[in-house]
Structures are given as structure tokens and as C-alpha cells.
Amino acid sequence: VRDLVERARRGDRDAFTSLVHATSDRMYALASRILRDGDLAEDALQGALITAWRQLPTLRDPDRFEAWVRRLLVHACYAEARRRRTWAANVRVLPVDGPAGPDELLSVVDRDQLDRVFRRLPVEQRAVFVLHHYLGLPLTEIAETLGIPHGTARSRLHYATRTLRAAIEADAATVAHEGRMA
């Protein structure tokens, strides 16, 4: 990868094409989880990769390419999330694409509730949550990737987790209550 990055930095479009093929799936998966919307994720992916191409000569350390492009992607997600406001209030639940998950862990109700609540979180909190729980990045690396203080990353994760936990617990309480009523 380092060689490809070095060549792409010097303007080699073929090398950049290889980098795009090597990273686009991971980037799209990340964007679609932060944005919960395939169209927006596509736009974020395109914006981030075009920006990466333009600004690649300014990347000092080729070994940091993956983290650098991830940062560009998260910022592109911020932009796309704000665009979405034009349409609606981020409150409508869209169907989740892809394979079904492990049902023993995640009920349909949980999933819908998580979706609904997650969309209403600020996109900055969503990004930290996904980087932590999906990519498994520690907070120090998240802070470094996003260029934010460690405390900010921690508080964003805290607020996102608290909100989502509360949503699931409220849901569980409702189910239990309905069970007693039945």
C-alpha cells in the first residue's frame, strides 16, 4: 500500500485507482453505518475519495493513508448528514439492507428502536460510536483519527451510548409491561 500511496501522491492515477479498489468497500461500510442511508453513504464515499485524490500530495506520512482517508470520510459524513436536514428530520426509519443479524442478540424491535434513536443522534456522536463499536478502535485512536481531544471522543461515546441504552431499556420495559397486561 505504501508504494501505491507514494505513486498516487506523485500523480499516478493508476496507483490511486488501486487504492480506491482496496479501500472503497471498507469506507462505504463505515459511511453507511454512520449515516444509515445508502445514498448518502455513496455521496460521502465519493466526496471523501475525490478529496483524497486532490489532497494526497499533502499527506506527509504514507503509512497514515488509511487513517487519513478515514478522517476525510467521517468529515464527508458530517457534510452529508447536514445535507439530509434539507429533506427531513432524520426521524424516519428506513429498512436495513443486507443479511439478517444474529437474532438471538437482536430482536426486530431492538433493531428498529436502535435505528430510530441512532438517526437522531448528532452525527459526531454517531461517528465515534461506529468507529468504536464497529471498527473496534480505542478512544485514543478515534481522537487521533478525528483530530479531536480524547475527552471529546470519550464524551461523544458516552452520550451516544447513554441515549441508545436508554432507548433499548425503555423498549424492554414496554415489552415487559405489555406482557403483564396480556
Binding site: R33, R54, R85
Partner: protein
């Protein structure tokens, strides 16, 4: 839920759901764009000759040649009159007296190469985190932050006052409007309209209006576009919703409002229409279908037309003739159009830079006699062109740059003919 570990497992399982493959069309679009997109070269690599020994004679010769080219070019532009330098554009009075869309058949599209951009140095660049839109009370500029603050910018100092906290529900704030006596802002969920006193910067009333988005203080009322397909009319005397007018389906997401020609106009994105409301009867006068290429969003009324700026990734604007409520033209912007304002009698639109990367944005003027862009301004700083507001206040033009979290104050003289 029993403990933290359970939540982590549920979160991971939930995040595992979803697609993991980038669509081919997205990858292809990137590779296609890269073919024509130049890279940004750091100064040190762009100008390697600086570090090499060069004799003085070739440098002097090169400078003389460059000077001759510049002087010759300026002379050519002035005598030819084909650029916008030197006031070759039509005056405001000429624009105002021009007939509506001359020689244009309905829905005709004007597309031409854009003029060379003119670099304009901002008077000030004011950092406003999460800036979305802007309004003016006639003195100061008020910037709405999507994270729940309303920021007054003092035109005397170009400083942002401490934000008036609205509530803090991030990214759910969408609309701001102002006049000399009030500033109005909206929050979409839970829906509220805030009323502020611009002299004290205090919230003086909150009005429950579910799914409130765009807001407009005009025609003796406050009009609020609601996400569920209606427009609410608020009586500013009582702060109560006195009418609710249906403008589209429940998922039509009406957005920005504009007044002009004794009507209220609203862009209804989901239905692809611009709806005209008669304020005397609180009924819809006309529902105008927009072309699929332009999602109705931000509107702008001028002396002889209503302009629909897509603002949701549309590269053209549509011209509506208010005397017939029909589309009579379309103007190619050369990029995605967003903020719009009537300045010196002419419509101006901010246009996002290529790739949406935060730079390269421009502000373009539409010549309403030809339906073409006839002037392009390029702020001499990083400017994305992506925003939802541009206003004239205190002898300047103020434009929101969402991507860079800033508001640019530009000299009004740069916009004048």
C-alpha cells in the same frame, strides 16, 4: 438490559447488519472524476525552481514577458467588453426594466461556458460552528447554528456575540428569518418556533409547531414550512398558529419560503413542486411542477421572476414567471447551487466547489435578460459554496459556508454592476 457487556454485544450485532460493498457506480464515479481533477500541490513541490540556482537574466526576461501579457490582456478585456471587469454588465435599472425572459420558450435551458471568476477578498471571515442559515434585522446578521444556537454578528466589529442557546438538540434547527423587530428560528423535532428580540437577544416566545423547518416573516404574518406537507401561518400579534395550509403530501418535506408578488412561495422537495400561497385567503394559488433535475428547495423572488434554486445537488435553477405561474427558463450554474440573494437587483447564487471538499466555491450572478450566468466571484479564501443563506446587511454581503463552519462578509461593491 443486564450490563454494559450486553449492550456492547447488541450494539456490535446491530452494526454488523448492513451492506459492506461499495456500489460499482460510486467507485466508477470517483475514478471518472479523478481523471479530470488536478491534485493540490504543496508550495514546496509546486515551485522546486525556487531552490535551484538560476541566473538573473532569464528571470528578468520572464518578468518583462509576463508584464506585457498582463497589460495586453487587460487592454483586450476592456476594449472587447466580453468580461465583467469594468462594468460591462447590464445595470440594475436595465435588469428591472427588461421584459420577463425575452425570446425564451417555456422551459428552455440556457447553458454556456461560465465567465472567468473574479477574486474577491472578504472583509471578514467569522467562525460560526455548525452555521446553517442567516438573516438580517436590518442592522446585524443573525446566523442559525444547526446545533441549537442563534449567533448575532456585530457588523461594527465582525465579532460573533455569544450564541443564544435555543435548546441544544443538535442538527434539528433549520430556519431563521428576521425583520427590524423580531428574529424567528425553527426547530424541527420537537417542533418549535422561537421568537427573539434582536435588541436584547432574548427569547420572548416559543410557539409549538410540529416539524417546523423554513420560516419567513412577511406579509404581516410568520409562515412556517412543516415537514409533513403544510405551511403554518402564525399571527405575530398573538404568537398563535391561525391557519394551516396543505401544500403537499405528508412526506413532501416543504422547506424554504419566500415572499413576492403578493404571495408566499414554498419549495416542496418531496413532491417536486413550488407552491404559491395567497395570504389573503390562506389558500394555494398555484402548484408548479419542477423538472426532475431541480428539486425545489431555496427560492428567490426578483423584480420579474421567482427563481427555484435546487439546493439538493441540483446544478441548475429554474425561472418561474409569476404572471403565468409557469417555468420559462433554466440556468446552468456549473455546479450545485445553494444560498441565494437578490443583490443590486440581480439574483446571486452560491455554487459548491468541485468535489464538495470545502474550497473552490463561487458566487454567481444570473443575468435575467439572457438567463445565463454573467459574473462569477471567487472569495479569496477557502469557501465551499455550500450553505443555506446569503443576505445583504450593513453595506456587505454575508454568506454562510456550512462545510467550513464560517460566515464570509464580502464587500457589496464587488456585487454591484
Amino acid at each position: 438490559m443486564s450490563d454494559e457487556r450486553d449492550f456492547d454485544r447488541i450494539a456490535r450485532a446491530w452494526l454488523e447488519l448492513g451492506t459492506n460493498e461499495a456500489p460499482d457506480r460510486a467507485v466508477s464515479a470517483v475514478l471518472q472524476a479523478v481523471e479530470t481533477t488536478p491534485q493540490v500541490r504543496p508550495l514546496s513541490t509546486r515551485l522546486p525552481w525556487r531552490y535551484e540556482p538560476v541566473s538573473r537574466m532569464p528571470i528578468a526576461a520572464a518578468l518583462v514577458v509576463a508584464l506585457v501579457i498582463v497589460v495586453g490582456g487587460l487592454y483586450f478585456m476592456r476594449s472587447d467588453g466580453s468580461t465583467n471587469v469594468g462594468g460591462a454588465t447590464p445595470s440594475a435599472s436595465a435588469l428591472a426594466s427588461a421584459p420577463a425572459s425575452p425570446a425564451l420558450s417555456p422551459a428552455s435551458s440556457a447553458s454556456a461556458a461560465l465567465p472567468e471568476s473574479i477574486v474577491v477578498t472578504p472583509v471578514a471571515v467569522i467562525a460560526v460552528p455548525d452555521a446553517v442559515s442567516i438573516a438580517s434585522d436590518g442592522q446585524a446578521a443573525w446566523v442559525l447554528s444547526s446545533s441549537g444556537g442563534l449567533v448575532r454578528i456585530d457588523p461594527g466589529t465582525n465579532e460573533a456575540d455569544p450564541p443564544v442557546a435555543l435548546d441544544g438538540t443538535a442538527y434539528l434547527y433549520t430556519g431563521v428569518s428576521a425583520d427590524a423587530t423580531h428574529v424567528w428560528a425553527t426547530r424541527i423535532s420537537p417542533g418549535l418556533v422561537y421568537r427573539l428580540d434582536p435588541t436584547t437577544s432574548k427569547v420572548t416566545a416559543t410557539i409549538e409547531t410540529d416539524e417546523a423547518k423554513g420560516v419567513l416573516a412577511a406579509l404581516d404574518a410568520v409562515w412556517v414550512a412543516k415537514d409533513g406537507g403544510t405551511v403554518a401561518r402564525i399571527d405575530p400579534g398573538t404568537n398563535e398558529v391561525v391557519e394551516t395550509i396543505t401544500v403537499g403530501s405528508t412526506s413532501s418535506a416543504p422547506f424554504r419560503l419566500e415572499s413576492g408578488f403578493e404571495s408566499v412561495w414554498v419549495g416542496v422537495i418531496g413532491d417536486g413542486t413550488v407552491v404559491r400561497i395567497d395570504p389573503s385567503s390562506n389558500t394555494t394559488q398555484a402548484t408548479i411542477e419542477m423538472p426532475p433535475s431541480t428539486k425545489p428547495c431555496i427560492l428567490l423572488t426578483a423584480a420579474d421572476a421567482v427563481w427555484n434554486i435546487g439546493c439538493d445537488r441540483s446544478t441548475s435553477v429554474d425561472r418561474i414567471d409569476p404572471s403565468t405561474d409557469e417555468i420559462v427558463g433554466s440556468v446552468d450554474l456549473g455546479g450545485f447551487g445553494y444560498s441565494a440573494a437578490l443583490i443590486d437587483g440581480a439574483p446571486w447564487v452560491s455554487v459548491e466547489g468541485p468535489g464538495g471538499g470545502g474550497s473552490g466555491g463561487t458566487i454567481v450572478r444570473i443575468d435575467s435578460t439572457t438567463n445565463q450566468v454573467d459574473r462569477v466571484l471567487s472569495p479569496g479564501v477557502d469557501f465551499s459554496g455550500y450553505g443555506e443563506g446569503m443576505v445583504v446587511a450593513a453595506g456587505s454581503v454575508w454568506v454562510v459556508d456550512i462545510t467550513n463552519n464560517q460566515v464570509l462578509r464580502l464587500p457589496l461593491s464587488a456585487f454591484e454592476s
